[in-house]
Amino acid sequence: MNLPLLEWAAARRALAEQAAVGVVGIDRGRGARFSGIVWDSETLVTAAEILRGADSVTVHTANDAVPAKILACDLSVDVAVLELKTGAPAISAAKPTSLSSGDDVLIAGRSDSAATIVWSHVEQVGPSWRSRSGGELDRLIRLSPGLHPTLEGGGAFDLEGRLCAMAVRGPRHTTLGIPSETIERVVTTVLQHGRVPQPYLGVRLQSVRLDDALRERLARKCTEAAIVVGVEPDSPAAANLLFGDLLLSIAGRPIDNPVDVKIALTRIPLGSPASVQVYRAGNRFDASVVIRERSDR
């Protein structure tokens, strides 16, 4: 008998059993199954995109299947927050600094009520980055490629059983981890507001190419800028911005394209004035706008 190996296997099994407690299976209907994470005694999280606009789902725990309401989705960082009273203890999140490339993690989820566990590893950890969906994630976490679809939305746990990230499928079979601190940010906002507030400026924008002379004059490195191609009536922008304005920066964050504006807005407290640097008819000036929530609801 090889005792060290058996001990190693037992330790791995204990971790897997511990991780399995913190995850649920999610059934969107019509055979669409994936996973979710038990965030605390009343809250679950899963990936937003795979919900495809559902407003409730069936949640499978080890011995139960119950309907759960989706509180809100943040598509930009792919996090959905669900309400379900499980009474389970809150998940313990790993410290952001504790994860590095090459670490072993286990990805846990559920297919119906059966726990699904896959040992995986961290391929890459990087600084905060912007997703293709225009969201800012606190860290780049790339996990072993080829995540099984039922594990999407499941948790990636470190060797101490702490949650590092939510596993989602990225482009071209890559597997991305949504960092636990990003999830926490969304959960806190949703529990506070009941939704993900959408900051609103009220302009439609397009990218324009800047010629060299103008770039030099504006002292900009980027060859592109965002130009206003529409101002919505009664919007925060209506008072100060005009069709044809170039937006150079918002609250000190440089603007190179329309998506930059969306991201810059998410960092401005709602209801407080923000300074927008504008280039209009040969002049550069600062306009003050009060960013508010989009009032669609």
């Binding site: 407003d55 930009s76 293709r132 071209r172 302009v203 990218s207 969306k262």
Partner: protein, 225 residues
């Protein structure tokens, strides 16, 4: 093994049709692009137009080698204009016809540099008929220019089928994180109609997910921020 009867049946007119028709191996194109994704897309496009891919070149020099080995073949390339220029040059040096499919954001400011016999320049995602016609024309030594590329001063993206007001509104509400049902309730339409509008918007924007659609619509100036 191919039945020998088909070869003997191919006589007279049948042979002529085969020689210019899409199923003859000699007229199958070489797909050339630096990006693997683009090569895959071009291969799909080529196959939809009933051509088989004869070879795949990843670099301009590889393309030149292929063209030396098969001097009568033609080339399908695509992507951003700066990236495909070297491929076009390789083909031009071998006097091989080229069908170039420009990516959505590629804006050829100078048409004259691309205007010569044997080159067909198409806008992104041409339909099957357009692609076939371009292939035939370029191989006949004609110069082809997709009229959708010919709108000086305007952004290509804004020219490409704008979203309908309904599609825009559905996308806008979806972007706030509302469920399909909630969007439907707000607009007084059924969830299925919401999905229909979303699918149409995805198609126009060339995306596959809600989050990507939002970003694409913001970039095009269709949605406000």
């Amino acid at each position: 093994m191919l039945p020998s009867s088909s070869a003997s049946a191919a006589t007279g007119n049948a042979l002529v049709i085969r020689a210019s028709g899409p199923h003859n191996a000699a007229v199958n194109p070489i797909v050339a692009a630096a990006s693997a994704t683009v090569r895959r897309e071009l291969a799909n496009l080529t196959q939809h137009a009933h051509f088989d891919v004869q070879a795949v070149a990843e670099t301009p020099s590889e393309l030149a080698d292929f063209l030396r080995a098969a001097p009568r073949s033609w080339v399908v390339t695509g992507g951003a204009l700066t990236g495909i220029r070297p491929f076009i040059e390789s083909a031009r040096a071998a006097a091989a016809p080229v069908v170039a499919v420009l990516s959505r954001r590629s804006d050829p400011e100078d048409r004259s540099a691309l205007d010569y016999g044997g080159l067909a320049v198409l806008r992104a995602s041409p339909n099957q008929e357009t692609f076939q016609a371009a292939a035939i024309a370029s191989r006949a030594g004609l110069s082809v220019w997709d009229p959708r590329l010919n709108s000086p001063g305007t952004s290509l993206d804004s020219v490409a089928s704008p979203l309908s007001p309904r599609e825009r509104r559905v996308l806008e509400l979806t972007g706030t994180g509302l469920s399909t049902k909630a969007v439907g309730r707000q607009l007084g339409i059924s969830p299925n109609t919401v999905k229909f509008h979303l699918r149409a918007a995805f198609e126009k924007l060339g995306v596959r997910s809600r989050a990507e659609a939002l970003m694409a619509a913001i970039r095009r100036g269709e949605l406000s921020v």
